[in-house]
Amino acid sequence: MPIGELLREKVLAVQEYSLLSWNALTNVFRKPFYWADLFTQADLIGFGSLPIVMLTGFFTGGVLALQSATTLAQFGAKSVTGELVSLSMIKELGPVLTSLMVSGRNASGMASELGSMQVTEQIDAMRALGTDPLKKLVTPRVLSTIVMLFFLTIISDALGTFGGGLISTTMLGLEGAQYYHMAYQYLRYPDILEGLIKPIFFGFIIATIGCYFGMSTRGGTQGVGRSTTQAVVVSSVLIIASDFVISRLMIGVFGR
């Protein structure tokens, strides 16, 4: 394919994606609103992801404590392990790892579900029956992913800090009180704010990318497979890239 054609296609795709995202958001204020679909999706995304998010959070906190304590001990600063674990979990790893997990689970799920509906003309059938697929399928997914990812991230942060504490006390010989004191003392509001803003953006990315690749699926079962893979790859990359941008902005605003 010539470069120009390829470029044109990409620009068109970005335009379509933006349009879908914009509609998904503004549909929140347009009737009808599909509450039942919102709750089904929230259950699927939120409670469905709970086990993997808890496990990832816990072990990430644990390994953070393990790795940092060894390094910190060289400088005689093993006692600040708590601070390091809680700050890293809350600002970075909690939001990013939770989002990557949910992306693997749900961006792919959305892309394959909507993709199958697209290639079997179920999306067209829905439109023919007078229902806007953006309202019925996309908006509930976007909203519920944003809300659920927000809470999943908090759970992951908490379990990570707890996991770090458990490892510090059982394997690294730190006092529990000291660990939690350090974990808490150096935490500032901007850190919490950063940690809570990120999942809102990441949730939006996961759902809109998943739905976009689903809705734009062409070419049968193979196309569905392609969409699913692309949805996970693109949303993961976007999560990590936007994490960088948000972090940089926060540092610019709050200086930490």
């Binding site: 347009r30 009808p32 509906m117 079997t120 003309e121 179920q122 067209d124 059938a125 829905m126 439109r127 023919a128 029956l129 007078g130 229902t131 806007d132």
Partner: protein
């Protein structure tokens, strides 16, 4: 853009025609192509209220595309499409969703929602319209009885045969008694007996509810049967129109090479001396 300008220019003329009952479906110089390949070129035709247009033509001549155009599921590259006098090309998307309440459509591959039961598939539109549960249940059963599938109400699409799926799709399309029906190959790939059952249903819908319809089929027999038979309400079966008559409201249209090769009644079709039509009929 040129298309849009045209709308306002003869807007008054349209209004005048609209008063004298507009055609149910009207294509004006409609063209569409995919990936630079023209599929339909300068198509103009209209179907009056209560008429049935049977679309014939070889595979890939744009029959399905034509039905999707009529329901604004895709937009033409050029030309204008009016449904009940409304220009659906200039209608805002959100308004179109409401407008589709008047249009029922079945897809070539049925396109049933595979994660919903037959009941929920058929009920879909009424649920969206927030009709109460009791009425929905009654109407769903009624629609399924119409297609003789009441027993399958709790099944899922994957558990049905192809012919049953087609009939559920018909029930889903007709449940709200839309004024216009678009049937895409309702008999495609089915055995002759099931095909006849389905044609009978389509005929019942035509003659009992007097809805307008565009029907795509590959089977010449379907066109013959629809043109030469009528539905008898008292015997609840179809019967031949006496005296070898043909249904005056049934029009046959043959698509070929991006254009309309033939359009007229069954008698005209049989009398046509166009070599392509003669050959088509001889198949």
């Amino acid at each position: 853009m040129a298309v849009r300008d045209e709308t306002s220019a003869d807007g008054s003329a349209t209004a005048a025609v609209a008063e004298a009952e507009p055609a149910a479906v009207e294509f004006e110089h409609v063209s569409i192509g995919f990936d630079g390949k023209p599929v339909l070129n300068d198509i103009s035709f209209s179907a009056q209220s209560g008429e049935m247009v049977i679309l014939l033509g070889e595979a890939g001549t744009g029959k399905s595309v034509m039905l999707k155009l009529a329901n604004a599921l895709i937009a033409p590259d050029f030309g204008r499409i009016r449904i009940f006098g409304e220009d659906i090309g200039t209608m805002p998307e959100q308004q179109m969703f409401t407008f589709r309440d008047h249009i029922g459509m079945t897809f070539q591959e049925s396109a049933l929602f595979d994660s919903l039961s037959v009941r929920e598939n058929v009920a879909f539109r009424m649920r969206e319209q927030k009709v109460d549960d009791e009425t929905i249940e009654r109407r769903v059963r009624e629609a399924l009885r119409f297609v003789e599938l009441e027993d399958a109400i709790d099944k899922f699409p994957a558990e049905l045969s192809g012919g049953m799926r087609r009939r559920v799709a018909i029930a889903r399309a007709i449940i709200t008694r839309p004024k216009l029906l678009l049937y895409d190959s309702p008999t495609g790939g089915l055995d002759p007996i099931t095909s006849t059952t389905i044609i009978e249903l389509v005929m019942k819908q035509r003659d009992v509810y007097e809805s307008t319809a565009l029907l795509v089929t590959h089977r010449l027999q379907d066109a013959f049967m629809l043109a030469t038979h009528r539905f008898n309400r008292s015997s609840n079966a179809m019967e031949r129109i006496p005296g070898d008559g043909v249904d005056p409201n049934t029009v046959i249209m043959v698509l070929r090479n991006t254009g309309i090769a033939f359009s007229g009644s069954l008698l005209d079709l049989l009398r046509s001396d166009d070599p392509y039509i003669t050959e088509y009929l001889a198949q």
